[in-house]
């Protein structure tokens, strides 16, 4: 292991923990709704035994609510499973639009808690690259976090994947809140490590007079295998 991969590994583990905690939180919310719905059904049943007429419409609503939450929980677990398997193959071919959709979906609770709606502007054709999926997910999440910090009044961040001369580029676009995007050292150091591992480049267009911040991430079509990370 090199110093770079050590640093990426330690930070990657923190990222893995943060996402896992968020997923568990979502599962708890879903379980809570199931718990309260079941509890209310029990309450209504006990009340019916004492002579109060059973509200059939309410019973049906609660049953439907439980079914919806079971479906929601299934979706969360499916995402959790996909996230867990990101480390199976250090290097793998991925389809970028589908990958971004997955990242936005699995991060939704965190971005919504930050009060920002993340939107995907899909490209009409498949955009396949060979990359390190786990580190790409981590890098994209750090860039989403960075964008959220500067997100302005519209509180909307748009991600647009596009083909590029050497691979693909992903454009992060949002109305800004600050005069200039903040780039604290913790972000800077971590981003550099991830960019290096992915052989990627980043460009930030943040002109003071403009109302938008546009960050562009350039990722090669295939990763250079000479950069070691196992």
């Amino acid at each position: 292991m090199t110093e770079t991969t050590d640093a990426a590994g330690v930070n990657g583990l923190k990222f893995f923990s943060q996402m896992s905690a968020s997923i568990s939180h979502e599962l708890k919310n879903s379980l809570s709704i199931i718990n309260e719905s079941a509890g209310l059904l029990e309450d209504l049943s006990i009340m019916a035994e004492t002579g109060k007429p059973l509200d059939n419409k309410r019973v049906q609503q609660l049953s439907a609510s439980v079914k919806r939450q079971v479906k929601r929980t299934g979706g969360i677990i499916k995402n959790m499973n996909r996230f867990s398997h990101l480390t199976d193959d250090p290097i793998k071919q991925i389809e970028v639009t589908d990958f971004l959709r997955f990242i936005i979906d699995i991060s939704r609770r965190l971005t919504e808690t930050a009060g920002v709606n993340v939107v995907l502007s899909e490209h009409e054709k498949p955009l396949s690259i060979v990359t390190r999926p786990f580190y790409l997910h981590y890098l994209l999440w750090r860039l989403i976090q960075l964008s959220i910090k500067s997100a302005g009044v519209t509180r909307e961040l748009t991600l647009s994947p596009r083909p590029d001369d050497n691979g693909i580029c992903i454009v992060f676009e949002n109305h800004k809140r600050f005069d200039k995007i903040s780039n604290p050292p913790a972000h800077g150091e971590c981003l550099q490590t991830l960019l290096s591992l992915l052989a990627a480049k980043m460009h930030i267009n943040d002109q003071e007079r403009e109302t938008k911040v546009i960050m562009t991430l350039f990722v090669p079509e295939a990763i250079d295998l000479s950069i070691s990370a196992k």
Partner: protein
């Protein structure tokens, strides 16, 4: 005797709606909202004994909401509910640790209605 007045704030409408109904069945009057902003607004024209706040609210977390609410309703008591396992909350941002102190209680989701009712009666000093 006037029933205990509860305000529930959680961004999961199905959860707060059902929880409010279950509290009503137990003789506790409960209103619910799904945002911190709506929670502060309702305090301007309605008095509550206890506010039950989710910690991870969109836009404004439960701790910041409590600070704002205390300014509007200084006598009101608070109960936090959270999906985290521990109530010595490490927020989603690592390092942003908040401690629950004073007369504020904290319960973990899914909440046991019996425990919640006991906690409400305990912090309001109400007898069953």
């Amino acid at each position: 005797m006037k029933p205990i007045q509860i305000l529930l704030v959680d961004d999961e409408p199905l959860l707060v709606e059902t929880l409010a109904e279950r509290l009503e069945i137990r003789g506790i009057s409960a209103e619910w909202v799904t945002t911190g902003e709506a929670g502060c607004n309702i305090l301007n024209h309605h008095k509550f004994d206890v506010a039950i706040l989710d910690i991870n609210l969109p836009g404004m977390n439960g701790f910041d909401l409590k600070t704002q609410m205390v300014r509007i309703a200084p006598e009101m008591k608070f109960i936090f509910i959270t999906g985290h396992n521990a109530c010595s909350m490490e927020h989603d941002n690592p390092g942003e640790k908040k401690i629950i102190t004073g007369s504020t209680a904290c319960l973990t989701k899914p909440v046991d209605i019996t425990v919640l009712v006991e906690k409400i009666r305990e912090i309001t000093g109400a007898e069953e």
